[in-house]
């Protein structure tokens, strides 16, 4: 107890230790104050001055050295200083000002003429609709009012009477009577009498003079006017006799959907429901909570929340749980669109929650539906994104792959793009639809080549067309090279320019080749391999030469889509697919892993898909819906424009290039070989073919013949001993008669069987 007390005492005197130390014999005790070490150097000098012992001085210094080591400045700098000091670093005021985003002075719907007219149109339409709605119900309203007229009359009469006879004072008077307060009662009745007197004086002349006069005047009016006045009176009386809970106009013409506001509470709750451990940790009682770097705002027809996810959680983690997120937000799945913010760190989530399901939200009409032309060098309208903003695709210098499960709007998406291409009168269209449903039929009248059907003939025609395109590619490349040599300014990037495409003498017009259900082509046992090689070559080389290949498939796998095609396509549109494999096949490797998952779409998300390669980031797009009659009308317009421009060609002019005679190259070749010719040089065969059928094989070189024979499975790389035109015997490329005969026999058997 005493000890404790003394300690307490010491602390109390802490501030006065200098005084204490001045007392002789007391310094040792003073020395043990813990706070004394802070100014130990001073203490030491004090101490020495006071003539302290050497031992205690040593103890003092020893303690000091120990402490000095702990706070060694240099050492601390080397080992533990990682964070820069708070001040003096980071972007300066001017830097921040330069990088700052300037927000628009006027909202976009006010500043853009287009959007302003749209808003005005919407408002006009809204009120016109309301007017029409109520006009149609006018008789019902009138009947209701008439039926209420007696009640209205009674109400007006009783109301007037109550006013005249001061009914509102009655409760006061009866209260006075109840209290038996005679003085108050007298005062109130006197007041009532005065009121009744003046009010009667006002009412009686109207009742006795005005009313008969009005009746007299009204009956004196022409029939029609009397009727109108009477009807007006009845309606007015009816209006006076209305029930508050049974209004004459029961419903509104426009029912607006009430959408709950998105608040940070709702978002946090939804994120917490995802079952991600890191999120739950920060949401827990000792966590820091979810950070919202920007306020939640209205963005298009929905709400946008910018969210900083906890450390270690990335946007794909959220995207893959989109369904859970939608459940947590209590919204339909089609309303909830988590995305990454491409300009920010990987944990910055942009959550857009639409008022309406994307699949059900009203989509603006396709801009080219009624009028207008397209320019393939410019972005052509394709559809809208989930926020209702237009999405346009620049087809020139690009190729396109569309993948989807059957029945989710793949062909419609393809058709929108082809219609746009058709509206560019320069573009040559080669359209093949290998399903045979005729979904692209409307484009037949503008197509240079057109084929529809699942049969071998159509597939072969497609392949034939691809061969032609490939040959055209060579020609185009040669033209570009020639032009570049003549005038470099014409082809600045060795690419087709709009000016060159417009010149009909060069043959550099845009060439659009579209194959719907291209898996039928690429997995075809006979033509598939060559088609795949041609498509790969066209995709690789055609981009700069104005050739646009558009492929659509419902079976994106390795057999149905050559790797060369899926790896080199620029723009990809993937509607609903089954899983990761199909998703990555269409959209590109590791897209699924990055949270771009077309497998999350549902069956009712028709026409909705991920569009990759069009913008910097993958975007969700819903293709515009153009029905069959509208498509027909558009192609009629396109055909008229092409007719005027003189660019109608091929199938559109009625030339039946598609049902060309079947490929009989092996048979033709076999018939050219002499009975004793076992082997022949490819060169010799090419020359003979050209001589015998100049219109079919006239342009064949040895290399082209090799290429043409390859799909038939004939080995053309055999070394054949022969004699050249100078009589020298030598080894050259050629093929054996036995191989050829075997192939022909095989083909004959197949033809008889099928």
């Amino acid at each position: 107890m005493i000890n404790q007390h003394s300690e307490h005492h010491d602390h109390e005197y802490d501030d006065h230790r200098d005084e204490q130390r001045a007392e002789p014999g007391e310094h040792a005790r003073v020395y043990e104050f813990p706070s004394k070490r802070e100014d130990s150097t001073q203490d030491k000098t004090d101490y020495e001055r006071n003539g302290g012992t050497a031992e205690s001085a040593e103890r003092d210094t020893a303690g000091e050295v120990l402490e000095g080591e702990l706070v060694d400045e240099d050492e601390q700098n080397i080992t533990s200083q990682v964070d820069p000091p708070e001040s003096g670093r980071g972007p300066s005021f001017w830097e921040r000002l330069n990088q700052a985003e300037r927000r628009a002075i006027l909202p976009t719907w006010l500043s853009s003429r287009n959007q302003l007219s749209q808003a005005a149109k919407w408002a006009g339409g809204h009120y016109a609709h309301a007017a029409g709605y109520h006009a149609a119900r006018c008789p019902v309203y009138a009947a209701k009012l008439a039926s209420q007229a007696p009640r209205g009359t009674a109400r007006i009469i009783s109301g007037t009477a109550r006013w005249v006879f001061d009914a509102e004072g009655q409760p006061l008077r009866s209260a006075a009577a109840r209290r038996e307060d005679a003085a108050e009662y007298l005062r109130l009745t006197t007041q009532r009498d005065a009121r009744v007197r003046t009010r009667l004086a006002l009412t009686l002349p109207v009742l006795l003079g005005g009313l008969p006069l009005t009746v007299f005047l009204v009956t004196g009016l022409p029939m029609l006017l009397t009727g109108a006045v009477m009807a007006g009176l009845v309606l007015a009386l009816g209006a006076a006799g209305g029930h508050r809970d049974k209004p004459v106009v029961p419903g509104r013409a426009v029912v607006s959907t009430q959408v709950a506001k998105l608040t940070s509470d709702i978002v946090e709750r939804a994120l917490a429901s995802l079952g991600i451990a890191e999120i739950n940790k920060v949401m827990g009682p000792r966590g820091s909570g979810i950070a919202f770097p920007k306020p939640i705002t209205r963005d298009g027809p929905g709400w946008r929340a910018d969210i900083d996810l906890p450390h270690g959680v990335t946007v794909p983690d959220i995207v893959e749980r989109r369904e859970k997120l939608a459940s947590g937000l209590r919204r339909p799945l089609g309303c909830v669109w988590p995305e990454s913010d491409g300009t920010e760190h990987a944990g910055r989530l942009v959550l857009w929650v639409g008022d309406q399901d994307m699949a059900q939200a009203k989509q603006p009409a396709w801009p080219l539906l009624k009028k207008g032309t397209a320019d393939l060098f410019q972005p052509v309208p394709f559809g809208t994104d989930q926020r209702g903003r237009p999405v346009a695709i620049t087809l020139m210098y690009a190729n396109l792959l569309i993948g989807a499960m059957p029945g989710v709007g793949k062909t419609f998406a393809l058709r929108v793009l082809l219609l746009a291409a058709a509206l560019d009168a320069r573009a040559e269209m080669r359209i093949f639809e290998l399903k045979g449903t005729g979904d692209l039929e409307s484009l037949e009248k503008v197509a240079h080549h057109y084929g529809s059907g699942p049969d071998d003939g159509t597939v072969e025609a497609t392949l034939e067309s691809l061969r032609e395109v490939y040959q055209d590619l060579e020609k185009r490349a040669a033209t570009i090279t020639r032009l570049a040599r003549e005038n470099k300014a014409l082809v600045p990037e060795n690419k087709v320019t709009p000016e060159l495409a417009a010149r009909s003498d060069l043959g550099l017009h845009p060439l659009v080749v579209a194959v719907d259900e291209c898996q039928e082509l690429f997995s075809h046992p006979e033509f598939g391999k060559e088609a795949g090689e041609l498509a790969t070559a066209i995709i690789k080389r055609g981009r700069a030469l104005g050739v646009i290949l558009i492929l659509a498939t419902q079976r994106p796998d390795k057999d149905s889509l050559p790797t060369g095609v899926s790896a080199n396509v620029g723009i990809r549109f993937c509607l609903r697919v089954m899983g990761q494999m199909e998703n990555d096949m269409v959209l590109g490797t590791s897209m699924y892993k990055n949270g771009v998952r077309a497998s999350t779409f549902t069956a009712k998300d028709k026409g909705i898909g991920y569009l990759v390669g069009n913008a910097d980031d993958p975007q969700i797009a819903r293709s515009a819906y153009v029905d069959n009659p509208a498509a027909d009308a558009i192609t009629d317009r396109a055909r008229a424009a092409r007719h005027a421009a003189g660019t109608l060609s091929g199938h559109a002019l009625g030339q039946t290039t598609t049902d060309r005679k079947p490929d009989t190259l092996p048979e033709d070749l076999l018939s050219l070989l002499g009975p004793d010719e076992d082997k022949v040089w490819t060169e010799t065969a090419a020359t003979r073919l050209a001589q015998t059928w100049p219109e079919t094989y006239g342009s064949y070189t040895a290399d082209q013949l090799t290429a043409a024979l390859k799909p038939h499975g004939i080995k053309t790389n055999r070394q054949v001993w022969g004699t050249d035109e100078h009589g020298h015997g030598r080894n050259r490329r050629g093929f054996h008669r036995a191989d050829l005969a075997k192939i022909v026999a095989e083909r004959n058997r197949k033809r008889e069987a099928g």
Partner: protein
């Protein structure tokens, strides 16, 4: 039949009419002139000019009708009981 009953019936009807009439009077005119001061509210002394206020009616000259008074008593009693029970 008729001669024996008719005086009774007449009596009953008269009683009814009078009762109803009294009720109506109590509703419409809850007060009546004070009998003591004849509705003036003043009591004259023996000397002609001097007068004081009537004590029965506190100088108002009006007294509550008995019917109304009874009604007030019953209703206020009922009301008080109701509030107490609540």
């Amino acid at each position: 039949m008729t001669p024996t009953l008719s005086p009774l019936a007449t009596l009953a009807i008269a009683a009814l009419v009078i009762t109803l009439g009294y009720f109506a009077t109590c509703v419409i005119w809850p007060f009546k002139p004070c009998k003591t001061c004849h509705g003036t509210g003043k009591r004259h002394a023996r000397i002609v000019t001097a007068f004081r206020l009537c004590t029965r009616c506190q100088g108002t000259g009006r007294r509550i009708r008995i019917g109304r008074h009874l009604y007030n008593r019953t209703t206020s009693h009922r009301r008080r009981r109701r509030t107490r029970h609540r």
